[in-house]
């Protein structure tokens, strides 16, 4: 079976995605799968990198070196000098974080190509990518979310007013970025304006919401296996300053992911655990997701309320570290995701034939109206 591992991408999280891609390639069973690494460069070009499993091949200006590739239907076309090769791809394993890789664009492209892929589909990907849309959808599904305001450029004054109303400190985030990039906490109006100008560098739409003073973050992941949703145990990242910046999350201790210590499984009260697990499963099934999805929750330690903060449709390391106590290791998770993607296949609309075109061709002015009645 030929698997295309797609990683990289045009977003700020490209480097994180490369690490996830390398991890995923290490976890895949080489006896079962033939692996074709497909790296998406900063300008969107796809390459088949040489020595794909070594981090060193991705460091440098023109890295990685490799043959340019493109997809034609469900075939991967490799151009190597004068040689052309076509490889039938059975499934794509998506390790792209953020940007076009996670917002449904790549998913839509693969659907057009007819290649099954391991992440949630176009619709849930697009919803979860946008922090405002996702909040509204989660609210509609009955989940508890923190109220937030959407701010567009030149809407700074309204933002300051909103912040005054809900009370400082407020948290400022770009609407369509992940990995804590461009996120800041503001304690007063000046800080808010500064934080907003930073956030606008990353996105045209930003979100401001009341920041919790004393809170606990809880992560929970779901994956679908043979139609059944497996909910992971809960994890609490322990190492917290006031805030997780991008550097803390990924670059501390020599760039090792998950370097920050964690509590797994997290010790929280059973009713909160039950709420988090049932909410995750409900959102997962209602949005018709597949593949590993990580849900991030915030628990307000003052009031005890639990808020669904966001859903990552392609989480870092594909959330493989959250399923270990269920006896599912990374390799098994890859199998599950690929199996599920293959079983679902590519959703194709039913085709039906009509004689609208024939009627139009014979000169009937109201062809659409007439035929539409017959369909």
């Amino acid at each position: 079976m030929n698997i295309a591992v797609i990683y990289g991408g045009t977003s700020c999280e490209r480097d994180v995605s490369v690490i996830t891609g390398i991890q995923a390639m290490g976890m895949l069973d080489r006896f079962k799968y033939e692996i074709y690494p497909v790296h998406i460069g900063e300008n969107g070009d796809m390459r088949l990198p040489m020595n794909a499993q070594s981090v060193r091949s991705y460091i440098g200006e023109h890295a990685p070196a490799g043959a340019p590739v493109h997809f034609e239907k469900n075939e991967l076309c490799v151009r190597k000098g004068l040689k052309r090769k076509r490889i039938h791809i059975d499934c794509a394993l998506l390790c792209t974080h953020g940007g076009v890789g996670e917002n449904g664009a790549l998913q839509g492209f693969l659907e057009m190509c007819g290649i099954p892929y391991t992440s949630p589909g176009v619709e849930p990907s697009a919803i979860c990518m946008n922090k405002i849309t996702s909040k509204n959808v989660f609210l509609g599904l009955g989940a508890n979310v923190l109220p937030a305001a959407k701010v567009v450029k030149e809407g700074e004054e309204e933002a300051v007013e909103y912040a005054k109303k809900c009370g400082y400190p407020v948290i400022v985030k770009p609407a369509r970025q992940g990995s804590s990039i461009g996120i800041d906490v503001a304690n007063n109006a000046e800080e808010l304006l500064a934080a907003m100008s930073v956030a606008f560098e990353f996105d045209d739409v930003i979100v401001i919401e009341r920041a919790l003073r004393d809170f606990t973050e809880i992560n929970c992941a779901c994956v679908k296996s043979r139609g059944e949703i497996i909910i992971s145990s809960l994890e609490r990242p322990v190492c917290w300053k006031e805030f997780l910046t991008f550097e803390d999350k990924y670059l501390s201790k020599g760039g090792k992911i998950r370097a920050s210590s964690r509590e797994f499984p997290a010790k929280i009260s059973s009713d909160k655990e039950k709420y988090i697990k049932s909410t995750s499963a409900a959102v997962y099934s209602e949005l018709n997701m597949k593949g590993a999805v990580r849900f991030d929750y915030l628990i307000d330690n003052e009031s005890g309320a639990v808020y669904l903060n966001e859903a990552n449709t392609i989480p870092g390391s594909l959330a493989s570290y959250l399923f270990t106590d269920k006896g599912i290791d990374g390799s098994r998770l890859m199998d599950i995701m690929i199996e599920e993607a293959m079983a679902e296949g590519v959703a194709r609309g039913k085709t039906f034939s009509s004689d609208i075109l024939k009627a139009y061709g014979t000169g009937s002015a109201n062809a659409c109206k007439i035929s539409a009645r017959n369909i």
């Binding site: 976890m27 033939e34 692996i35 020595n51 270990t324 006896g327 290791d329 390799s331 098994r332």
Partner: protein, 254 residues
Amino acid sequence: MCDMENGLNYEVYGNGEKVLLFLHGWGGDRRSFVPLVNILKDTYRCICVDFYGHGNTPATREYSLRDFTESVRRVMLDENVTSASVVAHSFGGRVALDIASDPRINALVIIDGAGIKPRLTLKKLARKFVYRLKKAVKADTSRCGSPDYKALSPLMKATFVNIVNTYQNAVLPQINKPTLLIWGKKDCDTPLWMAHKMQKGIKNARLITLDGGHFCYLDHVFEVTGYIRNFLNGVYYGMDGVCDMRSASGGGGS
């Protein structure tokens, strides 16, 4: 944790549902597999034993290979293990081949395992000749023998002779458990041809060759654990029907 008089000393890591039994090589002990165990213990319950005369298990008499196998069975009984897979290195491979007939064993992972009758080389022939000659003229034979042998106590010397003279070529066709063989390409103690022989003999065997010698698994910890995980996932969940199997000779890199 030393139980009863003749029981093996062992340590348990992790608390997963699936059990892995780690059988170390001659001269090693329960800690020989620590790098692998540290990674695998997140999803597996890993039981690492000390064989007789190794680590914290004392040797009280002369043992045969069967005694070693029985002692491992007793550890499984003590730990209420109803199904397990074996990861064995070198001498542990002999025990693994012997214990494979136990219905509780699901699969074998043998890393540079022994048990195949070695080829008679010119060097060995010469050594044998010298030894016989020395014995015939009643000269001192204490300098003969392999370094493994010379380092042992008299009791373990007898055990060692028992062990190395047990050849298990005949057992191979009877093993019907899925088997993964991981071998160092430059292994001098149990050369690569032994792996090929085992692969031919055992029905469901896969062979992966790695760069390195007899202890190749310590040089490629992540690769080896990856192979073990994938192999065991295939055993426990069975995706082989869905995917076409290819005989790949590992080594990694694409």
